[in-house]
Symmetry: C2
Subunit: 203 residues, 2 copies
DNA sequence: GATCATCCCTGACATTTGTCACGGTGACCT
DNA sequence: AGGTCACCGTGACAAATGTCAGGGATGATC
């Protein structure tokens, strides 16, 4: 029996190498490529032809979701298993919509990772059950495109004038969008709205 | 020659297990304990008598800095190597002041981790050179104790009234501390001050 | 004992922020 | 064609925020 070829993508070199060591302990798994940026995933996949890609969500270049979408269209035979630090509902939803076969949080026991890779390779879906439930109740983002833009720009904590400049809108409009976002997130402050939206993976 | 006994502390089970796998590849290293919380470190160290403790900074219960201090007084023979996702100047400074022998960022190549453990065990200090330089220019936190408290409480984005309640201060005092923090961080907004202070590891 | 820094508080002020009501545009669907 | 929805803007208002100038209290340092 031929072994399962795995591509590893994580921006933290130490974690990446450690995961490689972990998976290499399994006789039926073989790590054939490692990258540290989201925009290097497709290129590496074309070169090494992996069966399964293990993608982190937080990465420079392109995040794991974008990489998933790119990979699904460029190398459709390669299944995607997304691994992430943060179990945010929006991440799970967007990852699955982008074509991922599995979604694993970094809290899960190390023993289960290899098994998750095998399941994904076998065509099954692997999803953390509690996170799946959370995703269902959280629903998809209630924010409109512009509200998301404005809230994203508000993450680094500038004034309304700063936001207006960076999004090319009037100050009044920016405040309207912020007000709407505050209402939809059930918060009382711009900063709180940012925090909630971020926790849900809406940004 | 007897092998180096290593204790592993990281809240993410997957990363913890992966690091264990990575270190276990080295014939002269032996992982003798794994914990997922900062407040379990000392207990585990007393039981397993490690030579080197690998501590993550971000952990529930007690963070890696607090765990370092506790370990240094409870098990002084055990050297501490701090590993962290974020290379924040304040983290490095506080870790060293708490008695750590080394400080490694998770960006470093996996190959170097085992070598870092060996160096620390040999009594040497291991510090990322670029981060060390950054720490020198950043200096220690300019914030007073109360300013730090208030700014920490402001992280989740509540109103001044919320902060005043959570820190047991008058609203006016809270605003004064925030104003001082804004001035010292060279920012224009409370949220921006929080962001800057957080990036420098001052919270 | 004087000096200094920090702390806590007050009160007042200008600015910013969040809210609301409103009008107008374009896209999409029925 | 009409209805709905997101979008952009205006103007105006109350509330929250950031700033400043004070005063009193504490503890460390010289």
């Amino acid at each position: 029996m031929t072994s399962i070829r795995v591509l590893l993508a994580d921006d933290q070199a130490l974690v990446r190498g450690a995961l490689a060591a972990l998976l290499s302990l399994e006789p039926d798994l073989e790590v054939v490529a490692e990258v540290g940026r989201g925009d290097e995933v497709v290129e590496a996949a074309l070169r090494s032809v992996p069966d399964v890609a293990l993608l982190d969500v937080e990465m420079p270049g392109a995040d794991g979701i974008e990489a998933t979408a790119a990979l699904a269209s460029a190398v459709p035979d390669c299944r995607v298993l997304v691994v992430t630090t943060f179990g945010r509902p929006g991440y799970l939803r967007r990852a699955m919509e982008a074509g991922a076969s599995g979604f694993v949080v970094k809290d899960t026991p190390a023993r289960q990772l290899a098994e998750a890779v095998r399941r994904v390779h076998a065509g099954l879906r692997v999803v953390d059950p509690s996170l799946a439930a959370e995703t269902l109740v959280a629903g998809r983002s209630p924010l409109t495109a512009r509200e998301t833009d404005v809230l994203r720009a508000a993450r680094d904590g500038g004034t309304v004038a700063d936001l207006a400049a960076s999004v090319h809108l009037s100050e009044g409009t920016v405040r309207n969008h912020l007000s709407a976002a505050i209402g939809k997130t059930g918060s009382r402050t711009r900063a709180e709205a940012v925090r909630i939206a971020e926790q849900n993976g809406w940004l």
